[in-house]
Each structure stands twice: as structure tokens, then as C-alpha cells.
């Protein structure tokens, strides 16, 4: 592995450094051949391309967190998958940073480079990134980023207890993708699990405020009548011989406790009396009761609710499934082909490509008749929309597919790939005649997306005639661009 990296550095790109050291202070040691130092200034994704790893100075934890969040949030796999290590003379105790990074880089300060296991691990990640890059242009949705991150690290996704998180738990990598929108983090995980890309096993359970999803809640006992928290509790006393039952204060006598009914003094508990239960008296409304009502106050939005109205959530740890591993290489359609979209009549990419080729060959052989049309519906700002859609993504995709299906004829064929969007084969339909129906599809899709999410979709529909010279691969590469 060390040799691989050496090859990367010397043969493929001699400018590649072992590591980029990022600090907001003078670290007290200078450049060497394999390390580039960067201090201060705006960071851009491109600066991470020329190094195998990033070392973040964790003397200032806030700075370190900012750098790591910037890296993990970047849409480019060369950046968000970059091995990132923390450097601190005092050692790093922050679980969130440790989870977000690839761990501490303790030997780094000695002027050396990465050695032993660190270097091996870096090599493994680099090979994974290389594999992802070889698979061509796949839309880096948050789902793909998550599965690729897990695939590159070969580890499970474990929840981290964190007071700064509204739910009390966080998944650092995902949290970076949804700043200030924590609920999307759980929705994304739910979607990934439903799609079969991750398998979850419960490790904890939380209850969240029904209004704001905050898990920081105050449970308090209140009077069932007036909801006051001011009430007193007293033991009930049952005097066996006369059957009198009342609060302990009823039994106060001048010469020790005595029964208010028969005036006999109380002797020993269990012999002539017992304390069968407790009774409470509200100091606000004088109501007598035994069971106070449990109320829950959300410490964030201050909403008061009953425990049964809280939203329960299972906190799970997740493993990448075999399907997830494959999806990290191929894109999402592998998962969706067997998912809901598949059920409503979309066909897989391979079948679609085969049908297009078949139609193309037919036109090449039989010149007469109308051309068929290959149409492509792409969404420009898919990444941004994916973030917005969260758990609704699957449902919205289904709605999109339905709109398209209903607008086309039963002889038309539809397929989908996440990196391209929807692809249509409109048989015996010239591109000039397909404009109307494709325009309607575009309008309805725009309307659907605007109703469901706040981001305006950038939808483009382009058509090509299948006239015997059409090439699907060439068209797709044109569509996705360099």
C-alpha cells in the first residue's frame, strides 16, 4: 500500500503531497518535502485535491470542526472522502471531531510523515476514491455520499451522544450535510435503511418533542386538575379495628398518633394499622389525588405535552449492506431498480439501453416511417434538491415517475438513472411532435417539486431522433458534460 501511494505521488502526480496541514496558528514546525502548510484564509475544495490526506490542527477545536465540516460537506468525492487527521500536542478528546475525522495524527508533530497503519489506511481510502472516480459521473447526493463514506472507511455508522444535538444523538458525517436541519439526518438514515443500503440495529431509544424534535425534555409531575407542580404528598393510614382511612395528618394526637374515629392510639404498623398508599393534595386548587399527571416540557420550544404525545425514535447503528456497497460504485438506480420506482413501471438502465439500440438498429434497416425519439429529463440542481427532499425523496420520485407515465403512451418506455435523470424512448414519435407532451411533463414536474420543497428545480428536457445513427452513450456523455 505504501508503494501505491509512492506511485501516486511520483508517477501519477509528482505534485501530490502526503498531507496538507491546516492550522490557524504557527504550529512550531516547518515544511518538509511531503507536507504542505496552510494557515488562514478561505478554503476551497480544489486545495484538497493535491494531497493524500489532510491534517487539521486541533489546538483550536472550533477551527478544527469548521475545517472538517467544510471537507465533509464538499460535493466532490476527492474532498469529502479525503482522509483527515487531527493534530494536537495535548491529544484530542472531542468525540465529535474524532468521529468526523480519521483519528489523531500523533506522530505528525515529530516531523515525520504517515507511517505504518495510518499509511495503510490512507492507501485503502485512496484506492476506494480512485474506484469511485473511475465509475464516471454519479450524482453526489447525500445518499451516495453517505454510502461512499462508509464504503471508503469500512466501518459502521455509530450514533454519538452529544448535548449540542437537539436529539441528543448525532451522526457527525451526516450532521455536516444538514447544518441546522437535524431532522433530515434521521430521515436520510431511514431512507437508506428502507432502500436496503444500510442495515440498522437499535442501540438506544429517545423521545422527542412532537413540535420541534428536541430530546431535551423536562418531565414533571403535576396536579391533574390545575396542572400545578405545587402539591404535597402524605401516606394514607388504615386503622384496622375501626376501618378508618385517612392521611397521616388526621392521626396526629397530643400523646402520639391516634385514630380520629375511635380515639385509640396507633401501636405498630402491620399490627393495628398500615399505610396502604399515598395521597397528594394540590396547594394551588386543593384537589386530592393519588396519581399526578406526568407532563413533559420541551426545553427548546417550551411546548408542554403528555408523554404519550412525544415522538419516539429508535437510535440505531448502521452497517453498509452489500447493496449499499454496490451502490457506492454504481449510483442509486441499482437500489431504486428494485425499489418503489421499479414497481410503477420504470425499466432498468440496461434494458432501456438495449431497447434504444434495438430501435436504432431497426431504423437503420428500415428507413421508412417516422423516427422514434430519445428524450432526457435532467434536473440541474439535483444535489441541492436532494438535501431539501430528505425522507420525501422516495415519494417524490414516485410521483415524478407517475406524472411521466401518465403523460406518455403505453408503448413508450421510461428509465431512470440518478446521474442523468429520466430517460424516455418514444416509439414512432418524431422529436418535433414530442415537444408538447414533454413540455407538459416539465411543467407538471416543476409544479410538483415546488409544492413539496422550497428549491426551484432546474429542469431541462432534450430530445434526439433515433434515426439509425443515434448513440446512447455518446448522448449521455454530452448531457453530463466534461
Amino acid at each position: 500500500m505504501e508503494k501505491d501511494l509512492q506511485d501516486d505521488r511520483e508517477n501519477k502526480d509528482p505534485k501530490m503531497k502526503d498531507a496538507l496541514f491546516i492550522s490557524n496558528r504557527n504550529p512550531g514546525f516547518s515544511n518538509n518535502a511531503s507536507i504542505e502548510f496552510y494557515a488562514g484564509g478561505e478554503m476551497s475544495g480544489a486545495m484538497f485535491h493535491s494531497c493524500h490526506a489532510v491534517v487539521v490542527d486541533a489546538a483550536d477545536l472550533g477551527f478544527a470542526e469548521h475545517v472538517l465540516r467544510t471537507i465533509r460537506r464538499d460535493p466532490h468525492p476527492l474532498v469529502y472522502l479525503k482522509p483527515a487527521y487531527l493534530y494536537s500536542e495535548a491529544g484530542v478528546q472531542d468525540d465529535f471531531l474524532l468521529e468526523l475525522s480519521d483519528g489523531p495524527a500523533p506522530r505528525f508533530g515529530e516531523g515525520g510523515t504517515f507511517q505504518g497503519p495510518d499509511r495503510e489506511r490512507m492507501g485503502a481510502i485512496a484506492r476506494k476514491i480512485e474506484l469511485f472516480m473511475q465509475r464516471g459521473n454519479i450524482a453526489e447526493t447525500v445518499f451516495i455520499k453517505m454510502v461512499r463514506y462508509l464504503a471508503s472507511r469500512g466501518k459502521s455508522l455509530e450514533p454519538l451522544m452529544r448535548i449540542r444535538s437537539k436529539s441528543g444523538f448525532t451522526f457527525p458525517f451526516l450532521e455536516c450535510q444538514f447544518p441546522d436541519r437535524e431532522h433530515l439526518m434521521f430521515e436520510t438514515l431511514d431512507w437508506l435503511e428502507t432502500a436496503g443500503l444500510l442495515s440498522g440495529s437499535q442501540v438506544d431509544a429517545i423521545h422527542m418533542c412532537g413540535a420541534c424534535d428536541c430530546a431535551f425534555l423536562n418531565f414533571r409531575e403535576t396536579c391533574p386538575q390545575c396542572s400545578s407542580v405545587k402539591f404535597s404528598s402524605e401516606d394514607l393510614v388504615h386503622h384496622f379495628v375501626c376501618g378508618y382511612v385517612g392521611p397521616e395528618s388526621d392521626f396526629k394526637g397530643e400523646r402520639g398518633p391516634s385514630c380520629p374515629k375511635c380515639r385509640k392510639g396507633l401501636r405498630h404498623i402491620g399490627v393495628d394499622h398500615d399505610r396502604p398508599s399515598v395521597v397528594r393534595k394540590c396547594r394551588n386548587c386543593d384537589h386530592d389525588f393519588q396519581e399526578p399527571v406526568l407532563e413533559v416540557v420541551c426545553l427548546q420550544c417550551r411546548k408542554i405535552s403528555r408523554p404519550e404525545n412525544l415522538s419516539p425514535r429508535a437510535i440505531k447503528k448502521y452497517q453498509l449492506t452489500a447493496l449499499g456497497e454496490a451502490t457506492s460504485l454504481s449510483g442509486l438506480d441499482l437500489a431504486q431498480g428494485t425499489g418503489p420506482a421499479g414497481l410503477i413501471g420504470l425499466i432498468g438502465y440496461e434494458s432501456f439501453a438495449s431497447l434504444i439500440n434495438q430501435e436504432n438498429e431497426r431504423k437503420k434497416r428500415y428507413k421508412s416511417g417516422q423516427n422514434s425519439t430519445a428524450a432526457f429529463l435532467t434536473i440541474g440542481n439535483k444535489g441541492e434538491m436532494s438535501l431539501e427532499m430528505g425522507r420525501k425523496a422516495s415519494r417524490i420520485s414516485q410521483e415524478l415517475a407517475k406524472i411521466i407515465k401518465w403523460s406518455l403512451r403505453s408503448t413508450d418506455v421510461i428509465s431512470y438513472r440518478s446521474e442523468f435523470g429520466f430517460m424516455f424512448l418514444m416509439v414512432e414519435t418524431d422529436p418535433t411532435r414530442s415537444d408538447t407532451v414533454l413540455g407538459r411533463i416539465k411543467t407538471e414536474i416543476e409544479q410538483l417539486l415546488q409544492e413539496n420543497i422550497q428549491v426551484r428545480p432546474e429542469i431541462a428536457i432534450r430530445c434526439w431522433p433515433i434515426d439509425g445513427t443515434f448513440s446512447l452513450e455518446q448522448t449521455l456523455s454530452e448531457l453530463t458534460g466534461p
Binding site: P224, H238, V245, G246, P260, D274, P276, V279
Partner: protein, 437 residues
């Protein structure tokens, strides 16, 4: 069979008055006298309860509505959760609205706490207290009493439900006579035609409660306000400290009210429907418990009523004697009668027994006819439907209940068996026994 009937006919023809009295002295001297007195009193009560009584009732009703006092409805019990929703529903459907419902769970080990907790949350009952360790019926009722806020306390068995005007009618007597301390309602058997033991009890309740207590109230000697359905003045209950340890605590508390000089009334227009034992075995257990209380409370605990002193009251004295004579003494006289017949007229038993049966059947029929004539519409229908069980009543009351009663008296008199009845927890009974209560 024909020969036997002919013999019976000739025997009946040949018997003279002296022999008739000798052979049927128990019926003629005791039961017919009691029956005739009862019927006369019933007719008198009916005719006296005419226009003037209706005017008095109307005035009482308007006073009640004007004051509109809070009434605390208490329902103590163990493992009665399944009945509570229907009870709460029938209370909420009452014409009288100013009510608070307090349910006490006395150590239930079924889903009663869950059911009552839900009723409390939904506001269908106002208070719910639970003692996880059973303390007995009296302690549960006293716990409810401790937290009552009403001017009147209505004690209900949890397995009852009420007619829609029951509580309003029940409260009226308090506004007719300021000296009334407690009012007993008419307790009728729920689903009276369900099975034989239930039907026989339904007939018995009709006779003993619907008509019997009506007459006793008219005569001022009513001695029991049924625990299933009775309303009490809260101030008097507080004064006497609520219920004492049972069994038979409803009769006991009525005596305590009477001792303080309060009148006890029966309100026939306040009707509740209760469940009764559905097998003879369960019925025998229940009746043994009730019958033992006669010895324990009347002859032991409250024997001072029989002794004339400064607190002597004729009504209470007569109520006591009525109870003792017609239950204990007349029970004994039956065994004497059987011995008498066995020794002296053994050869006539085949004629005397059917004759006795016929006599009691006729009196029972007349009583049922009185019920049909004097009761409300539901009572009339009930009486007519139950008429088919009349032929069994002489055996039910004359044999079954009598055997059970005699056995209960014997057990209590000689062994104080009521203290060992699991109906009360031993920790309670042992203390009551040691204190002689």
C-alpha cells in the same frame, strides 16, 4: 297419582278448624299474620301516598333544585373495573347533575386500576383512589368518604347501574323531612331472567326490597340501607366516622344512624339494578355472610338497643325486634315445627307438606299481585315475567334460604365465623374480633 289426589281432597274436606290450626300453626300464627299485616300496611301506604304526598314531593323537588347540593357518589370495590364504565355512564346520564364520582379500588389484582385511570383521565370519574393492599369494604368506603366534598354521599356497589331519575328521587326525601339521615333506594336484579338462581333472587328482591322495605319505611322500622344503593347525609357519616368493619356493614351503619335519632326512608322511585350471584353455591356464600351479621351486629354489637335507657327509641327497638323475630326466632320455629310434625304427625306428612306448599304459594301469588298493582311500569312488567317462577319460591325461601340461614346463625353464634370470612382481610377481622366489634 289420582288416588293420592283423592286422598288429599278427602283429607282437606275432613279437617276441622282445630286440627287445621294444630297442623299449620306456623303458617297461621306467624306467617299469615305477618302477611296480612304486611298487605294491609301496603294498601294503607298506597292510599295515603295520594295527592298530598305528591304535593309534598313537588315541593321537595323544587327545594332540591334550588339548593342543588353537591352529591358525592362513591363506589368502593375490588376487581370491579369492568363494571365501572357502565356505572359512570349511568351516573352521568342522571337528571341530577351536581355530582362527583369517587371510585376506590381496594387491592384489585385485575385491570381495574388501568380502567379507572382511563376514566379519570377522560373526566368520566372525578377521583380515583387505589390501595394496592386490600383493607376491606369498610376501609375503601371510608377512604372515599374522607375525600368527599358533597352534602350527601351516595354509596353504590360498583356492579350496579341506575335508572335516569334515581339520584334526584333519592334526594327528595331529605327535603320532605329534615330528620331523615339516610335513604334506601329500590334495588332490582339486573337481567332477571338470565338463569334460575338469578330469577329466584329477582322475585325475592321484588318482595323483600321493592315491597317489604316500602312497608318498613312507612311503618318507620326500616333497618337497612342497602350498600348497593343508599344515600347518606355527609355530616352524619362524619359524625359516626363512616362505616365499621363488616360484613353486614350496611345494616350496621343504618343502626348507627337510627341510634343518633335520624329517620331512615325508602324511596321506591329511585331504582338501581344490581348483579346477583348466578349460582346457588355463590348465593349460599353471600347469604351466609349476610345472615351472620344478624348475630354479630344485632345481638352482640348493638344489643344495647334492646335495653331501655335514656337513648331508647321505639322505632329502632321495633325495627330490631322485627329483624330478630322474623329472622332468628321464626327460623327456629320452623325447625320446631318440623320436629313436631315428625314426631306427632309423621303419618300425615304426605298431606301436610303439599298443603303447606299450597298455602305459601297462594300468599306469594298475592304478594306478586300487589307488586303488579303497586309498582311502576318496569316493576309491573318484571313481576309478570317472573310469575312463572312463583311455584319454586316456597322451596327457594322455605328450604334453601332457611337451611343456609340456620347454618349461618349456628356458625356465628357458636364459632363467630364472620371474623374468619375471607370477605375481610384477616388483619382487619382479627383486630375487630379482639375488640369485640
Amino acid at each position: 297419582m289420582t288416588d293420592y289426589l283423592e286422598d288429599l281432597y278427602f283429607f282437606w274436606q275432613s279437617i276441622d278448624a282445630e286440627k287445621f290450626l294444630r297442623l299449620f300453626w306456623v303458617f297461621l300464627v306467624f306467617d299469615f299474620g305477618r302477611f296480612a299485616f304486611f298487605q294491609c300496611a301496603l294498601v294503607l301506604e298506597h292510599f295515603l301516598g295520594g295527592k298530598q304526598a305528591r304535593r309534598k314531593r313537588a315541593l321537595a323537588r323544587s327545594l332540591l333544585r334550588k339548593e342543588n347540593p353537591l352529591v358525592s357518589v362513591i363506589a368502593p370495590g375490588k376487581n370491579e373495573g369492568r363494571h365501572i364504565p357502565a356505572l359512570a355512564e349511568s351516573i352521568r346520564a342522571q337528571s341530577y347533575r351536581n355530582l362527583e364520582i369517587i371510585v376506590v379500588d381496594d387491592g384489585s389484582n385485575d385491570d381495574t386500576p388501568m380502567i379507572c385511570g382511563k376514566l379519570l383521565q377522560s373526566g368520566r370519574i372525578d377521583k380515583f383512589f387505589r390501595n394496592p393492599i386490600r383493607g376491606g369494604k369498610a376501609s375503601a368506603a371510608n377512604l372515599a368518604l374522607r375525600y368527599c366534598r358533597g352534602k350527601y354521599v351516595l354509596h353504590l356497589d360498583a356492579d350496579t347501574h341506575l335508572g335516569p331519575l334515581a339520584i334526584e328521587n333519592m334526594l327528595c326525601p331529605f327535603y320532605e323531612d329534615g330528620n331523615i339521615g339516610a335513604v334506601a333506594g329500590d334495588v332490582r336484579v339486573n337481567h332477571p331472567l338470565r338463569d334460575l338462581p338469578v330469577s329466584l333472587q329477582a322475585l325475592e328482591y321484588l318482595k323483600k326490597i321493592s315491597l317489604g322495605r316500602r312497608v318498613a319505611s312507612f311503618l318507620g322500622i326500616l333497618r337497612i340501607v342497602s350498600g348497593a344503593f343508599g344515600v347518606f347525609r355527609k355530616d352524619v357519616l362524619d359524625r359516626i366516622g363512616g362505616w365499621d368493619v363488616g360484613p353486614g356493614l350496611d345494616g350496621d351503619i343504618t343502626v348507627k344512624f337510627r341510634k343518633l335519632g335520624y329517620r331512615i326512608a325508602f324511596e321506591p322511585a329511585a331504582v338501581c339494578y344490581t348483579n346477583v350471584p348466578d349460582s346457588f353455591r355463590k348465593l349460599a356464600v353471600q347469604r351466609r355472610r349476610w345472615d351472620r351479621s344478624l348475630i354479630r351486629f344485632r345481638l352482640r354489637k348493638h344489643s344495647d338497643i334492646l335495653i331501655p335507657d335514656a337513648n331508647f327509641k321505639w322505632g329502632t327497638f321495633l325495627a330490631f325486634w322485627e329483624n330478630i323475630v322474623f329472622n332468628l326466632v321464626l327460623d327456629l320455629k320452623w325447625w320446631i315445627y318440623i320436629i313436631d310434625m315428625g314426631f306427632n304427625f309423621n303419618h300425615l306428612a304426605r298431606y301436610v307438606l303439599p298443603m303447606n306448599y299450597a298455602l305459601y304459594l297462594v300468599t306469594g301469588s298475592v304478594q306478586l299481585l300487589a307488586a303488579v298493582l303497586l309498582m311502576d311500569k318496569e316493576g309491573k312488567i318484571r313481576a309478570v315475567k317472573l310469575a312463572v317462577f312463583l311455584p319454586l319460591m316456597p322451596i327457594y325461601t322455605g328450604v334453601f334460604l332457611r337451611v343456609v340461614r340456620t347454618y349461618a346463625y349456628f356458625q356465628e353464634f357458636f364459632f363467630k365465623a364472620s371474623y374468619f370470612d375471607p370477605w375481610n382481610p384477616w388483619k382487619v377481622s382479627s383486630q375487630a374480633k379482639a375488640a369485640g366489634l
